[in-house]
Amino acid sequence: MANSAKIIGVLLLALLAFVVAVLVGPAEMTSEIFWQLRLPRAIGVASVGAGLAVAGVLVQSSFGNPLADPFTVGIASAAALGAVVGAVVFRGSFLGFGPGAMAFVFALGFSFVMTAWMRRGIRSAADILLVGVVCGFFFTACATLILSLSEPHALAHSLSWLMGSATYIELPWALGVAAITTVVTLVAWLQWRAMDLVTVNELTARSMGVDVKKLRLLLYVCVAVIVAISVGVAGVIGFVGLVVPHALRRLGVRSTVTLIPAAFFSGAALVLSADALARTIIAPTEVPVGVILAIIGAPVFLWLARRSL
């Protein structure tokens, strides 16, 4: 099957998931529920899924490392710490900003520090990833420390952030999130040739005209924006960024030129379906979407990859 057919396939899948996500839910559909709850949530969740899957491609390609994802570069952990600080330390509101906004600030702040460090000298991919992983551990430990000292009420609130749970979002915000995610994806997509070259070999990529340092800085900022937004909207959702690019590559979508759009749509489809399931499976209780993704997604991925693992 040609790659364009695969992209159209995942696009249709995403549309289908979108329709299902809007239609299903524990409450009966009214115009109010549609416009104020279902539609904004579906748009927000689709953007988060699309963005995280694209962020996974960007991190893996720019570092030439198939194990990298938004967590390995530390950004997602920084965002999680921000959410916990927002929920516990500032009791859900700091100058009117909630945990989502704090997650955004922490993710961007950390990426600012990292890019400043990356710009100062020549850093190898391994060094950048190592610093990212170490910082990630530090942020997670800080978040755990704060949680262990917090009251039960705040703890429950933070947990829903940490495991990924799409919360209430207004329509204009959801549309804004979708627009930013799309624009950042397009900006990154323009670098597809450079990413293709770096995934083969960094040194030869440079010999073929790629400024690897600049490329990493640009893509790092793209990933930071995507992750900051997605944690702000839906909490910390792992798995998507790591697994969607791998699954697609194993299905034969290899070049970044097709991998990015394919990841965009399949990430949206995946998280939309997981969120629909999360809302309905034991309604009215919501299961965190991150939990659904990993519990169902991990075996499915292993099955998909069984021949090449």
Binding site: Q60, T199, V200, N201, L203, T204, M208, S255
Partner: protein
């Protein structure tokens, strides 16, 4: 399109000593060189300086290609002039042999153009045929033998259609048959297309069979250069590798090419 080193010295970032120093040499347009020397003598550094991929400080001097300083040439333009072939790429992501060779056309592509032109496809097909990769062209590089994947990396460099090919240990650890294939291809490029070649490798007996010229590096400096059989001598070998190595130069009885013996 000659490559000119004039008084060129280079130190790696974080390094205390210059990796190459006071390099003065002209590689004439279309010439074919083996760059030899012990480990750490600066061979790779010399090659990388030609490809514009060094990280560190240039102490002094310049490297020019066709009179233009390499560091000032736009990187994509340089990729149309010099192609670099490393020894083993360690590819971790799935990509087919043909897709990898097609990447050699990237420096000729506009940012927004996707896919390959018919002309590109023809060029890639002829490279696939030249390297004898027809049967395996659609297999993943990770599933090919080490030798075949080295041929694919060479194929990508050929697809760049450059005036210079730079090979850094690109045939080390390949079997004799694949080594022969690589040298046949290089010979053809050198003869028919007047492509200049800089070759680094440790198997000097192999190099002596195919490469006309030899340049010796020792501790970052050029100690001798010229036609292969004139440069290679007992004195030079014991100077570079030590007397204890017990090396001497003789002749290949079949074709008269120089051959190194362990005594």
């Amino acid at each position: 399109m000659s490559i000119d080193f004039s008084n060129f010295s280079f130190t790696y970032a974080g390094g205390s000593k210059a990796a190459i120093q006071d390099i003065c040499h002209e590689f004439e347009s279309g010439s074919y060189w083996c760059v030899a020397g012990a480990n750490g003598s600066g061979k790779s550094t010399l090659l990388k300086s030609v490809c514009g991929i060094l990280d560190g400080t240039v102490g002094k001097g310049t490297v020019k290609i066709e009179g233009r300083e390499i560091r000032s040439i736009d990187r994509v333009n340089l990729a149309r002039t010099v192609a670099y072939v490393p020894g083993g790429a360690g590819i971790q992501f799935p990509i087919t042999a043909r897709e990898l060779i097609a990447q050699g056309r990237f420096p000729y592509k506009q940012r927004l153009s996707i896919g390959l032109s018919e002309e590109d496809e023809t060029k890639i097909q002829s490279i696939v045929a030249l390297l004898g990769l027809e049967k395996n062209q659609n297999r993943l590089v990770s599933q090919l033998s080490w030798g075949e994947s080295a041929l694919v990396m060479l194929g990508r460099a050929l697809a760049q259609e450059t005036k210079w090919l730079v090979l850094d240990e690109a045939v080390s650890s390949l079997d004799l048959g694949v080594q022969r294939r690589v040298f046949s291809v290089l010979e053809k490029m050198h003869r028919d297309r007047k492509v200049g070649i800089l070759f680094v490798g440790h198997d000097l007996n192999l190099a002596a069979e195919f490469i006309p010229k030899l340049l010796w590096l020792h501790e970052g400096k050029i100690i001798k250069s010229g036609p292969f059989n004139e440069v290679l001598s007992d004195d030079l070998l014991s100077y570079v590798y030590g007397k204890d190595a017990g090396l001497s130069v003789g002749q290949n009885p079949k074709n008269g090419k120089p051959k190194i013996f362990f005594s």
